[in-house]
Structures are given as structure tokens and as C-alpha cells.
């Protein structure tokens, strides 16, 4: 009996283990199959092109022979390239700083007013961010129009002469940055408002009892409490602003005299419009180090917060 029972028992156990094993295997197989479309999409349309861009950048202009880093050397010697680097940094950094400041101020203003009115104001303040940038930039282009500028019409009433908004290098740089701030500040506002709501009211009361002025309360209570969100929003925005295309393209198309070209618009001009694909790819690749640094910071923040939870 025992002799007979034992094998059946082990067989049953073995059977159970193998079916369990199969189940586990099946679960991970199903999971992999469910994630497969995502993996394929990322591999074929994001990772592969990104690698392919590196290869393309190493070809000669006619794309017939491999020149290694020759294209990069050639670009580094061009004055236009350094203008683009300068303008990209100026554009991204100043726009992000002003977006953050405006977002911070507006978030506090909205937070200040009674709760039931906040929704309405927030709704109006977010409109620039909802309109597709290519279309809202057209409105700015029209506001900056050289002969019919509505801004110049107002300035004329104050006795100020017409400003060549998009016609002169300095003003054109100002304009692309202004439009970018206009389109991006609402995003900062909404992020900072969410962060402000999570600052415990007791901290403010405690600070008020200790005699802190409203400015001190913002500086010593709100700012440290919001530090994480401020940093991550700015990093996100830095990536997006650095890689911007539509605003500059529609407003100035890089002009006057390449003064407002940033990496995205210049690589489009060189790569697609002038047909020099290797050079265009090389130009756009110069964005990669800056994006990688910002991404590394964001990732560090995510993993840190993940381990806190």
C-alpha cells in the first residue's frame, strides 16, 4: 500500500509543481506578449532611429561614404553652429527661469483668493497651454506684424515709435522667448498650485505666530516644501524648451539672419530643406548630452521618491 501510495503522491506533487511552473511561465509569457506592441514600437520607432541618427551623422554629405566624426568637425568650425548653441541656451534657460517665476507668482495669487473662485481663474489662466502652439504662435506673429502690429499701435499712443518685433535680431530673440514663456507658464502654474495645496496650513499658522511676514512665509515655508516639484517641473520644461520647434519655426523660421535658430529648427533647415541629412542629424545630436543630463536628474528624483514610498 505504502509502496504504491508513495509514487502516486510524488507524482501528484511533481505534477502540481510542473503545472505551477507552467502557470508562472504562462503568466510571464502573457505579460511579455501584452507588452510586446509597446516594446516593438519603442524599439523600431524610437530606439532604432536614435541609433540610426548617430550612424547618419557619420556619413558624407552625399551619404555614400563613411566619414566618422568628420561632419561633427565641420559643424564645430561653423560660426552659425555656435550662434545656434548660444541662442538655444539663452532661449531655454531664460524661458524656463521666467516660466518658473511667473508660474510661482500666479500659483500664489490663485491660492490667495477664495476657494470657490479658484476654478474659474485657473481655467482662464490655462488657456495658452491648451491651444496648439503652432496656432497660438500665428496669433503672436500677427500681433508682431511689421506693418499692422497691434502692439505698436498701442505704443504709438504713448508716443513710442514702432518696434521691429521680429525684424531685428535682439527683438526677435526677445519675441521667441516671450511666446515660449506665454505658452509654458500655465503648466508651471498648475504644478506649483498643486504643490502649494499640499503645504500643511499649520506650518503657515506656526510661522505667522512666530511673526513671519508673508514674504518670509513664502521663502521659508512654501519654497522648501515645494522644492521637489519646482526642480522636476523645471527639468521637464528644460527638456521640452530645449527641443522646441514649432514656436520658433512659425514665429521667425530662424531669422533674421539665423539669429533665432535653435537646434531643432536649424537641423530641420539643414537636414530637410537643404537636403544635407548627415549634417542635420549631427546638429540634432548635439541636443542629446543636455537632454541626457536633465533626464538623469529626473530619473534620480523618481527613484529617490520611489524608495521613500
Amino acid at each position: 500500500m505504502a509502496d504504491i501510495a508513495a509514487p502516486t503522491a510524488t507524482a501528484a506533487a511533481g505534477n502540481r509543481r510542473s503545472s505551477l511552473h507552467k502557470l508562472v511561465q504562462r503568466k510571464s509569457t502573457i505579460a511579455f506578449l501584452m507588452a510586446l506592441p509597446l516594446i516593438l514600437l519603442i524599439a523600431i520607432l524610437i530606439v532604432y532611429p536614435a541609433g540610426y541618427a548617430v550612424y547618419l551623422a557619420m556619413l558624407s554629405k552625399s551619404m555614400t561614404k563613411f566619414v566618422g566624426l568628420g561632419t561633427f568637425e565641420f559643424i564645430l568650425k561653423r560660426q552659425v553652429f555656435w550662434d545656434v548653441v548660444y541662442q538655444s541656451c539663452l532661449f531655454a534657460i531664460s524661458a524656463v527661469i521666467f516660466k518658473a517665476i511667473i508660474g510661482f507668482i500666479v500659483a500664489h495669487l490663485v491660492h490667495n483668493i477664495p476657494l470657490k473662485g479658484q476654478r474659474k481663474w485657473r481655467g482662464m489662466l490655462l488657456v495658452p497651454w491648451v491651444i496648439p502652439p503652432a496656432m497660438s504662435t500665428l496669433a503672436w506673429l500677427w500681433l508682431f506684424d511689421p506693418s499692422y502690429s497691434a502692439f505698436n499701435w498701442i505704443l504709438a499712443h504713448f508716443g513710442i515709435g514702432a518696434i521691429p518685433w521680429t525684424g531685428e535680431a535682439g527683438w526677435a530673440r526677445f519675441c521667441v522667448i516671450l511666446v515660449n514663456i506665454w505658452a509654458g507658464a500655465p503648466f508651471f502654474m498648475i504644478m506649483y498650485l498643486a504643490a502649494l495645496k499640499s503645504v500643511p496650513e499649520q506650518l503657515h499658522e506656526a510661522a505667522a505666530i512666530d511673526g513671519a511676514s508673508w514674504l518670509q512665509r513664502i521663502w521659508y515655508v512654501n519654497l522648501p516644501m515645494m522644492r521637489n516639484i519646482i526642480a522636476i517641473t523645471a527639468l521637464f520644461s528644460l527638456i521640452v524648451t530645449f527641443a522646441n520647434f514649432d514656436i520658433v519655426r512659425v514665429l521667425t523660421a530662424g531669422g533674421p539672419l539665423n539669429a533665432t535658430h535653435i537646434f531643432g529648427t536649424w537641423s530641420f533647415k539643414v537636414g530637410i530643406e537643404s537636403g544635407d541629412i548627415p549634417q542635420g542629424a549631427a546638429v540634432s545630436l548635439f541636443m542629446a548630452p543636455i537632454l541626457a543630463i536633465a533626464a538623469a536628474f529626473i530619473l534620480r528624483d523618481i527613484s529617490r521618491r520611489g524608495s521613500e514610498v
Partner: protein
């Protein structure tokens, strides 16, 4: 101030209270004042679009107050909507956006479920990888994609250039990583007991996803859908690089390239076209503001 109130004690308290509310009232007034200034700054371009779209071309070129409409007319709207061309742009945009939204949601919801719940080898790395690919901008990818399309044409004979449906293939690169990221966050917040109970009752993984997870995560799905729609509606670089003939253009590129004819800017029609093109996201925003905000900010708040 609160110190003073405590020091002087009970009798002065009502006075104190009044001055406090007095202060607060002034703080509020200043808040409203500056808010109005910011709202003016933020709403000027869209309002100016509306103003210009209601003017005839003769009024636009006249030297009158550009901020006022003296003879409002709907002729720009009639002309634009009477044109076949603009309607084609609109149709292309709508078709592309709807298809992209459907593809995005199918890919990202199933993948997010697999990544959040059914861990497999490398799933954690993949989740981080998905987030990283979201940070790869379109300005880095359009040139290699351009070249890849030429390669596909040379090897298989399928012409991907200059077709609006090509955009359906490439837009998911912009939407899927972010939507997957949002959905992973939503699915991870659903209690584990729920899917365990379903599995014990004999539900398959697919049933658990469709019967349990999707209904529970509806707010997240709406937010992700809105995000995907907004991104594909607004995308400008890919259609500009990959489509050229007027019957293949989508709205943003169509307005920029066809309504601007050489040096002649027909501003009335350009503004009308831009305003109508901005209408779908604005309408969605007006009705679903909370989902809209949730969708576009979730990545950063969760991140």
C-alpha cells in the same frame, strides 16, 4: 501680529480681528488685481485671433483701432468652411488623432497592465525605459525617420512619404510612452486584493484587465486619452517634414503653409483657421478640465 494679540489679551481681540480681516481683504484685492493683469497677458493672443477673424480684409488693412471690430462679419468663416481644402485638413487631423488615440490606448493600457501587475523578466527596467523614451524629443527623431521612410520605399515599394496615414504610424511614439507611464501609475494604485480575488474566481488575465482594471481606472484612461488627442492634434514637426501635397496636410501645417501665400498674408482667414483649429482641444478642455489637467500633469507629479 498674532503675538500682539496674545500680549494685549482679550479686550483688544475684536479690534485685532478686524485688522486681520482688513489685511486679508487688501491682500485679496491685490491678488485679484495682479491676476487680472496675468489673465490679460494670457488671453490677449486668443482674443486677438477672435477679433481679427470677425473683420473683413479691408478693415484689417485700414488704419483703425486694431483691437476693436467696427463692422463684424462672418465672411472669413464662410469662406474658409466653404473651401474644400480647409475641410480636408480638418478631416485629416480628425482621422489621424482618432486613430492615434485608439492605437495609443490599446498599446499602453495592455502594456501598463503587464508592467504594473504581471511582472516578468526585465519589466522594471522596461518601465523606466518607457519613461526615458518619453524624454526623447521629436526634433531628434525626424531626420532618421525621414531616412527610414526612404529605405522602406526602396526595399518594399511602400511609399510612406507624403501620406497623412503615415502620421498614424509615427505619432504613437509621442503618445504611447507617456500614456503607458500614466496608466502604470493608475494600475499600481489599485489594491492587489482586487485582481487576486478575480483570479481566484477563475478570471483570465485578459478578463481581469477588461472587467476589473479598466472600469476602476476610467479616470486615468480619460486623462490619457485626452493627452494623446491633444498631442496628436497639435503635432507640427512630423507633418511638416513628412507631408507636402495640400490634400495630405493636417491642420497646423495646412494653415501655416497654404494660407500664407508668398508675401500675401490673409490674416483674417489665418486667424479664423487657427481659431477653428484650436477649437477641439479648447472644447474638450472646457468640459473635462479636471481630466485634462490630470492627464497633462500626471507624468510630472507621479514622477
Amino acid at each position: 501680529m498674532a503675538n500682539a494679540a496674545i500680549a494685549t489679551g482679550a479686550p483688544s481681540r475684536p479690534v485685532k480681528y478686524r485688522s486681520m480681516s482688513h489685511n486679508r481683504r487688501w491682500a485679496m484685492r491685490w491678488s485679484y488685481f495682479f491676476l487680472i493683469l496675468f489673465v490679460v497677458f494670457f488671453l490677449t493672443p486668443p482674443l486677438y485671433m477672435l477679433i481679427t477673424s470677425l473683420k473683413s480684409s479691408s478693415e484689417i488693412s485700414a488704419a483703425t483701432n486694431p483691437w476693436w471690430v467696427y463692422k463684424p462679419t462672418l465672411s472669413n468663416y464662410e469662406e474658409l468652411l466653404g473651401q474644400n481644402q480647409y475641410l480636408i485638413f480638418f478631416r485629416n487631423s480628425a482621422l489621424v488623432s482618432v486613430c492615434v488615440v485608439i492605437i495609443t490606448m490599446v498599446i499602453s493600457v495592455t502594456a501598463a497592465f503587464a508592467l504594473a501587475r504581471m511582472k516578468f523578466w526585465g519589466s522594471a527596467t522596461l518601465a523606466t525605459g518607457v519613461f526615458l523614451t518619453y524624454l526623447v524629443p521629436d526634433t531628434l527623431l525626424f531626420i532618421p525617420l525621414f531616412k527610414m521612410f526612404a529605405f522602406v520605399r526602396d526595399t518594399t515599394g511602400i511609399e510612406l512619404m507624403n501620406h497623412w496615414w503615415t502620421l498614424i504610424i509615427i505619432y504613437p511614439t509621442l503618445t504611447v510612452p507617456f500614456c503607458t507611464w500614466i496608466m502604470i501609475g493608475y494600475f499600481a494604485s489599485i489594491p492587489k486584493e482586487l485582481d487576486e480575488a478575480a483570479l481566484i474566481d477563475g478570471a483570465s488575465w485578459m478578463q481581469t484587465l477588461t472587467k476589473i482594471f479598466i472600469p476602476v481606472a476610467i479616470p486615468g484612461i480619460i486623462a490619457a486619452t485626452i493627452f494623446a488627442f491633444t498631442v496628436s492634434w497639435a503635432q507640427f514637426l512630423y507633418p511638416l517634414a513628412f507631408t507636402t501635397s495640400t490634400d495630405q496636410l493636417v491642420l497646423p501645417v495646412g494653415i501655416v503653409t497654404t494660407l500664407i501665400k508668398g508675401d500675401v498674408f490673409n490674416w483674417g482667414q489665418i486667424m479664423t483657421g487657427a481659431l477653428l483649429g484650436a477649437a477641439p482641444p479648447l472644447i474638450i478642455y472646457a468640459f473635462l478640465m479636471d481630466y485634462y489637467i490630470a492627464g497633462l500633469t500626471a507624468g510630472a507629479t507621479k514622477g
